[in-house]
Assembly symmetry: C2
């Protein structure tokens, strides 16, 4: 089979690991961050930008692609790779998260979910079988099982019911995948649910890894609004139960500190709209937290977003110019900020990978976190200046 | 001086000519189309895109840059080239056209114009001297005199008054330019006015070329809503009066047929927002007219926008994908359509230049126009299919 995970190195001091995921459209060094291309485009970037950023795999969203342009059209035109002319691997989610996020617009039953399109209100129905066929038509290298994602918080009874249904749907997805799918070209990942209850998470991990056999697994239903400590606890208690010869993916996770936490527990793959979405608001990820390009403080600042950063934006443009673009609502600003943020996460993962090979990932992570604070960059700058000034005085 | 126009070849059959404009930031082969970067960015494109498109010079708008980020800020940060990190030549207009387009928001007197910002309603004043200083601070290679652009239609009396004032302002611009400007680094162009009256146009051309001495000239106040025949007549009757050893620029002209008409009469330089603006509506310039990417007819069309086109968009993406991007309002669609349209005009100018050297420009133009119609592409396709079908029947 074209799909295989190879563990190349495991840290001596944690569950962090480095590997390679072999796929029909190329190898993916892990751990990896996957930029999200919801509607067959990573917002504001073209494919060349993404290749230059060394994005090794991108995501597509099944729910959005099903609505527009439609999976049948994508199939007719040769699949998503050809449709968007993307040469590297793609992963599609199952649409589960989007459908369950529709709230009053959807109705769940044992067979599947009936929902109304957020675009035109038209009625649609997703079942595990329907989703498998849509994902087959889209043709990503990695496809996800159709699951029910319980919101945070949820009572134990509903969380168990959603998890049990996720398990029954997982079995149906797997059957449909083997029956009418393309297992030789696509790897189907099962999704662990169980909300924020350790016992349920463990039960879900056991069931999906021991009773069923997926080529890869994801932890779903995390980072949905819960406090970070609870998210981290769930990851810490569930990840060790996962089989080491298969890739592990935590869905919807994308802040630098969360990626590092995931790696520490042995997670290989991450995706999130965070870097691209905040970029479009002018917010940039930098080594000590966030920099907001809209701030007037940047008006005359000739420094790049991040000194020493190798991205196209930092190599070519000043904060002053970027601030001007955001102030004038110029599209180029959105693109340049997106490039920086995607580069930040991709490069951070590459550095983390090297650190794992060199058995110093845990130090790398601690050093990163010592600098990194999600407080406005300006406050941090002022604090630093104040400290420097007070230090000078003392001397 | 760093600025010089060299005529390399003049057509044997028309006034069409090929040359080189030497500027402090590099040579510009002419005839040339200049993409417009109103607010220090050609909308949706980054500098690398523009270099790849072989854009040899871009425009900035003095009115917009004066309001945001302000000419003083640009000067402090080393001028517009450095501010936007653009390595090639730049031309700034004088803001005259924008200010006079403000209608009730502006008041003209002999000294200058008082106007209110379209952004926040604040009051500002442009005089020839003020504008010269703003353009000096911005630091473009080519700067334009502050003129009064009469709308179409205008009565002869007002047109003459506006022209006479333009002449007095031209003399003041020239004096300020030599007095406190940087003539060694910037070339100031005079602008011929005179509305749509041949005698006034001739008088303006004579005055500005014989009484005053600018390094280059522009025909202003054309393509402002008048019928094409009238625009063409004005160009035909005025262009021959212009000095051959200096570059001639027709402002605000950018449709393919207008560029070819201008070249025929000896025009060297053109600028227009047309290719970038219509791209953002999904309209693409193609050899037989326009193609609208939003049309449902493109849904399953795997052809590029224009078969045989060498632009990044046509080399990489189908109409089906582009139509999907426009339907989903994805920014990438705007960028890809802009790339195609700018490429179309830049490449057309390069082909026209070669044709001039080979003394076949007039044929090149006629062949181009024989194919080119500004009627919706689909109607043309249908007509063609109908003709082909009827032709088949006959055989």
């Amino acid at each position: 089979m074209a799909f295989e995970y190879e563990e190349l190195k495991r840290s001596n001091n944690s569950a962090a690991r480095a590997g390679i995921l072999h796929t029909p459209h190329g190898d993916i060094p892990t751990p990896v961050f996957m930029p999200v291309g919801t509607q067959a485009t990573v917002k504001t970037l073209n494919n060349t930008d993404l290749y230059d950023l060394d994005a090794r795999i991108i995501l597509g969203n099944t729910y959005h692609l099903y609505l527009r342009p439609g999976h049948e059209l994508i199939r007719e035109l040769g699949g998503l790779h050809r449709f968007m002319n993307w040469k590297r691997p793609i992963l599609t989610d199952s649409g589960g998260f989007q459908v369950f996020s529709l709230g009053p617009l959807r109705k769940i039953d044992e067979e599947g979910v009936t929902f109304k399109s957020h675009i035109d209100g038209s009625t649609h129905r997703f079942t595990p079988e329907v989703v498998m066929n849509i994902e087959r038509d889209i043709g990503a290298d990695i496809i996800m099982a159709f699951d029910e994602c319980a919101p945070y918080p949820s009572v134990p009874e509903y969380t168990r019911a959603a998890m049990d249904r996720t398990h029954r749907w997982a079995a149906r997805c797997l059957e449909e995948y083997h029956h009418s799918g393309t297992p030789d070209k696509q790897a189907l990942f099962g999704i662990i649910q169980g909300g924020f209850y350790h016992e349920l998470r463990h039960e879900s991990a056991r069931y999906l890894t021991q009773e069923l056999d997926f080529p890869g697994y994801a932890l779903g239903g995390l980072s949905v609004g819960e406090p970070k400590e609870i998210f981290y606890e769930m990851m810490a208690s569930t990840a060790p139960l996962m089989p080491r010869h298969k890739p592990l993916y935590v869905m919807g996770v994308g802040s630098p500190e969360d990626l590092l936490e995931g790696i520490l527990h042995g997670v290989d793959m991450f995706d999130c709209v965070l870097p691209t979405r905040i970029a479009r608001n002018g917010a940039c990820i930098v080594k000590d937290g966030r920099l907001n390009l809209r701030n007037a403080g940047n008006s005359r600042d000739e420094r790049p977003i991040q000194e020493g950063c190798g991205c196209y934006t930092c190599q070519n443009h000043s904060r002053a110019y970027l601030r001007h673009l955001f102030r004038c609502e110029e599209i180029l600003g959105l693109q340049l900020a997106t490039i920086h943020n995607v580069h930040f996460l991709v490069a951070m993962m590459q550095e983390a990978r090297v650190a794992i090979f060199e058995d110093r990932f845990e130090d790398f992570r601690e050093q990163f976190l010592a600098n990194f604070r999600i407080i406005p960059h300006e406050i941090r700058e002022k604090n630093r200046e104040a400290r420097a000034a007070s230090h000078k005085k003392k001397n």
